[in-house]
Assembly symmetry: C2
Homo-oligomer: 694 residues x 2
């Protein structure tokens, strides 16, 4: 990968002397900061922008480490071929017109890949804007030079963007409008060979990168990405495009990516410690926060120094909404602050600085108050609010940062104000490495992500390498059942064979047999009609619950049998007392492989969609993590005097499901909904097993 970022020599195939063409801009951009050898390739010119130009790549006298291709798509395969002959082993294809355009382009892309593979060439792109390294002033891209004309702002966030135009637009906006500093920007396009995992792996080891922000429309090697993310020691922030049905359609035709199930992906990625963003700029603000803010305790007890009582109040609301704490200032701090304030306003948190301006002037007031608050042992974070452009500027931001560092505290900024002063202020904050926000919500949200990232468990292995276990009994049931969609009874036989607790039940052939069975289990009982192809039994009227007597049982049996019209079989179950219901299951994902799901079940499962996923097989540790990740923790922890969920038992069940999923490639889905929980014990009451069909 290093050659893509630091090649000793670059050939530009499709270079042009016209400065506003893509091939011209490529050369202009290379000349801007690249120190290695540049070889323009174009059969029509001897010289381009003062550089000796070659008719083809093989005519170049010295070795070429990297070739950037910007010729029309149809000419690309032969160009790669020529690169191969020349001995070039790294290529960036920036031309468009490949898989993103449909079947013909896809075939062309396949051909390119085949040629590259034959020569042992690694390819970046096509349909991309290549590589930018802001601190080194390297622009291996055809993007417009105006992007960096307003001035580069170096930083320690690297970004990976699947979309080409976006990466360019983004860079301009981030640096010139928002004063966000960037390390490397990687536009990876169609990812025909080099993909996000390759680039992520490189950036995780890159000394100039403190945090990585990715905009992706697909993740090609899901498990590889999870593994990298899981053991990453740098924050990773991800924005995933194509989550909606409409967006997924667009993704299909854009960078030819298939969008997976968003909930599954988000859940797996956040289990791996990836921070999930919702929008472009928000992604960068979170990444910047994670890059700049060090260790933050989970509750991030925050002291607010503000010029406006209203902004102080809103900050409290937002911190609390994010699960963070408004610091309770210590007695010493209050006493010390009292000096800075007029008598009529006793200091409290938020500290309203405005009354103190008149005594010491704004700069002195802020600095004095900061010095007092930063030493308070009950404060983890100092949140400064500045109004920029009216009063003398608060230029000495580095001073705040240094004082905070000395005390092991975090400092963040919210600034509004007059345009020019504000921009200068933001640049200064960037240089002082203090995150600055223009919206309070973003500040609170980013701080919460920083606190969350601090808690990231970097030791637990997410991807297990052990062989999944499967009992002989389970293998037997799998051999016996040959349908694509199993009925509930067979599904639970399989679960039982795997050690999953299931409800007491039996197939009954007659009303009399049902009565005999009910005498054993005890009333009340449930009758279910298992009809092939009817998965949603309740909706089809095939479930009769609350049967409390032998007489009612006989009636119910007759009713149900009539509804079934001779098809399928009838199942009698003990009716379980329920405190609440859970759901668990397994699912095969194209990118991430077999996964286990866990969440809130019953009628609310589809309403609240509180479910989490982990890659199968699972360790006990990951299984417990999975259980602790659902939002409805209150329910599990012993709600309204009920017993808490037996964690060991539930985790064992999830481990068993994971082994089943990992060991049996033929299993496509298992759905256990509900697990009825009573007195903390989960029991599988319904199950659907779907095995891979033709």
């Amino acid at each position: 990968m290093k050659t893509f970022f630091q090649p000793a020599s670059i050939a530009v195939i499709g270079a042009s002397p016209r400065e506003n063409s893509l091939g011209g801009q490529l050369v202009v951009n290379l000349l801007y900061g690249y120190k290695g050898r540049i070889y323009p390739v174009n059969p029509n010119y001897d010289e381009i922008l003062g550089l000796t130009t070659y008719p083809d790549i093989e005519a170049i006298p010295g070795p070429v480490e990297l070739a950037i291709i910007i010729v029309p798509a149809p000419a690309v395969p032969e160009t790669i071929e020529a690169c191969g002959r020349k001995g070039v082993r790294r290529i960036i294809i920036e031309s468009a017109g490949f898989a993103e355009t449909g079947a013909v382009g896809r075939a062309l892309q396949e051909r390119c890949l085949a040629v590259a593979r034959a020569h042992g060439i690694r390819v970046w792109g096509p349909n991309c804007m290549g590589v930018v390294d802001v601190p080194q002033k390297l622009f291996f891209t055809f993007m417009h030079p105006n992007i960096y004309k307003d001035g580069l702002i170096s930083g320690r966030i690297s970004m990976v963007v699947q979309s080409g135009m976006l990466s360019a637009g983004f860079l301009a906006d981030l640096m010139s409008e928002r004063a966000v500093g960037i390390a490397k920007a990687c536009s990876i396009g169609n990812k025909m060979d080099i993909d996000e995992s390759d680039v992520l792996e490189y950036l995780l080891a890159d000394d100039e990168t403190d945090a990585i922000a990715l905009y992706l429309e697909s993740i090609i090697r899901g498990r590889k990405f999870l593994e990298l993310a899981g053991r990453a020691r740098k924050p990773i922030v991800l924005l995933k495009g194509g989550k909606s049905s409409a967006g997924a359609k667009a993704a299909l035709s854009h960078t030819s990516s298939l969008a997976g199930n968003a909930r599954l992906q988000d859940s797996l990625l956040s289990l791996a410690g990836v921070t999930i963003a919702q929008d472009f700029q928000q992604m960068m603000e979170i990444a910047r926060t994670l890059a700049m803010v060090g260790h933050t305790p989970a509750r991030a007890r925050t002291a607010i120094l503000t010029f406006s009582g209203g902004a102080g109040i809103m900050s409290c609301d937002m911190l609390e909404q994010q699960g963070l704490a408004v610091a309770n200032l210590s007695e010493n701090t209050r006493r010390a602050l009292a000096e800075v304030f007029p008598d009529w306003l006793p200091p409290a948190n938020p500290v309203d600085m405005f009354p103190a301006f008149s005594l010491k002037g704004p700069v002195a007031a802020y600095e004095r108050a900061f010095d007092i608050v930063v030493k308070d042992p009950q404060v983890d974070v100092i949140f400064l609010h500045f109004f920029v452009g009216l009063y003398p500027n608060y230029e000495r931001l580095r001073r705040f940062r240094e004082a905070a560092d000395r005390e092991g505290k975090v400092v963040i900024l919210w600034a509004i104000g007059r345009r020019e002063a504000l921009f200068a202020f933001r640049r200064e904050a960037q240089e002082a490495s203090i995150p600055v926000y223009s919206e309070l919500t973003r500040a609170a949200e980013s701080l919460a992500h920083a606190a969350g990232y601090t808690q990231k468990d970097k030791t637990t292995r997410l991807i297990q390498t052990r062989r999944p276990r499967l009992s002989a009994g389970a293998l037997q049931v799998l051999a016996e059942c040959t349908d694509r969609v199993w009925d509930e009874f067979d599904g639970k036989r399989l679960l039982k064979a795997c050690g999953v607790p299931t409800v007491e039940e039996t197939i009954v052939q007659s009303a009399a047999a049902a009565q005999a069975a009910a005498r054993k289990t005890g009333y009340p009982v449930v009758l279910k009609g298992l009809v092939p192809g009817k998965v949603h039994k309740t909706e089809a009227g095939l479930v009769i619950t609350g049967i409390a007597s032998a007489g009612r049982l006989k009636e119910a049996f007759t009713e149900l049998a009539a509804r079934m019209k001779g098809k399928g079989r009838i199942l009698l179950q003990r009716q379980m007392p329920a405190d609440y219901e859970l759901i668990a299951g397994v699912l095969k994902d194209a990118q991430f492989g077999p996964c286990v799901m866990f969440g809130i079940g019953g009628i609310f499962s589809e309403l609240i969609k509180d479910v989490t996923f982990a890659p199968a097989p699972l360790s006990q540790t990951i299984a417990r993590k999975l259980i602790r990740r659902i939002s409805g923790q209150k329910l599990l922890m012993g709600f309204r005097g009920a017993k808490a969920l037996d964690m060991k038992k539930m985790a064992d069940i999830l481990v068993a499901l994971g082994d089943l999923a990992a060991a049996c490639p033929e299993i496509e889905q298992i759905d256990v909904n509900p697990f009825i929980v009573h007195q903390g014990i989960p029991v599988a009451v319904d199950a659907a097993v779907i095995v891979g069909g033709e």
Copy 2:
């Protein structure tokens, strides 16, 4: 109110010749654009900034319509007194040091109010920044002149801000950094007399205001505000500060804990058609959208013209997330677009414009594509994405607006790019009256609010004037029960007397009596121990469910009696089959009076907190609206083959509860949790009544 905005003459009491003092800035600001007579008042000067200055207000020769007071707080009462003698009837007190500082300041404020009332004077403030009228260049405020030095941007949004400094900072930021245009900015401070409802009423009738944005920390006259909002024909966007838990009292009932501080208010206000914002800038972006965007169909079928495939995909995701639709372009549109595009990229929505740039250039490409898409009958909204500052500017925004107006369509913009060009572009968009966003999430969210506002029902009366009805039976129960917290049995007696369907139940004195009662109701049954003071019976182990036989009933009775240790009484209920559970209740709110709550009940009620509120008494229409406003509509509409909720019955219940709340001032809270719903019929199974105690 008009005098506060358009006085013929203004006295500035506390005027100063020092231009950087508050009293000096006031005079500077008035001189900037105010055309009426200005009378500085200060005993130490004969002239201030060229204006004749008077030693006191009574020395002014002519009449004074408005006095602005900026003298130290302790001198304010006598200053008001003097104003009264002079015949001034409108005063803005901009001085601080009143109720916001504690008990002494509060007493001072009370004294001011008493003096003002005695003279029939209406007072604005204190502790505020007064009134700004941007189009008229009126600055009745001490804010720093730098605020408007960068250039004023007139618009048609008026804002009301409770916090002083914030209103100033806000104005500077909105106009100079964000290019958001403003009509009037009203800083109302401590609201000792004039409050948000007064100002709202004025702005609703103001010709220069198309939308109103409010930042409030309290709403003094809740019902008045609701009434104004309910019949308003202009959009109102509200940001409420002080939602966090600080003042939340230990909740006795589910209703009060679910109401929280903010949930009740937000729910009532949004029922009245108020749009609830989460942050300052977001509030203004929503308000601007509502002011600029006309009628939008509910799903706002949106066509996206973008320079970046990635931004197009994200836009789809976000529109869908907001419940809006990505337009399905008609065949004609696709065919016409094909001309603008190179052959290799078939046009679809989102329309990726980048490939078309090379054929016609960006400006022509956008204009041509816009003209085609705006005529598509399957498109309601055109969402343009611009990258500003690289290619020739898209200067003719007015053209887009006019074309959209001609077709009755909406046009919105997302723009990123290079700083200077971007700001110029935003100003231009403001002038063309097209909302421009720098974040896609904000665009989608604002559009959703616009669609929501279009659907606002401006005809239904929210505040009922009819007298609430109460049956003789209900009065009788109320007379009989004297405890502060009633037991469940009495609670349901009251409900029953009001016509609310309740579960079949009876108080039983012995196991034998229980068995006799169960024979009547039929098994299974439930036993509950009603012990004074124990509201949470389940948690206290006082509920035994699923009693299916006479034998078990005897056991259960004995068990329960033992647990109760001779206190309270035992209730036997028929155990109701449940499809799901609802909650309803009534609550008295200090600002909004008696309110009715409705929502999802049972164990999930506290987890998902899906509840809504309306002011009591309710009409049938409002009751139905209340039911339709909870998020879990799927559940009510016949989930998994169950029968849909009987709307008439549920609405009748809510009307009855509302009448009860409105008619009985002594009732503090009623909590009916759960209403068990089976086959669409709701039945009250548990109830708690709390009457106002000492």
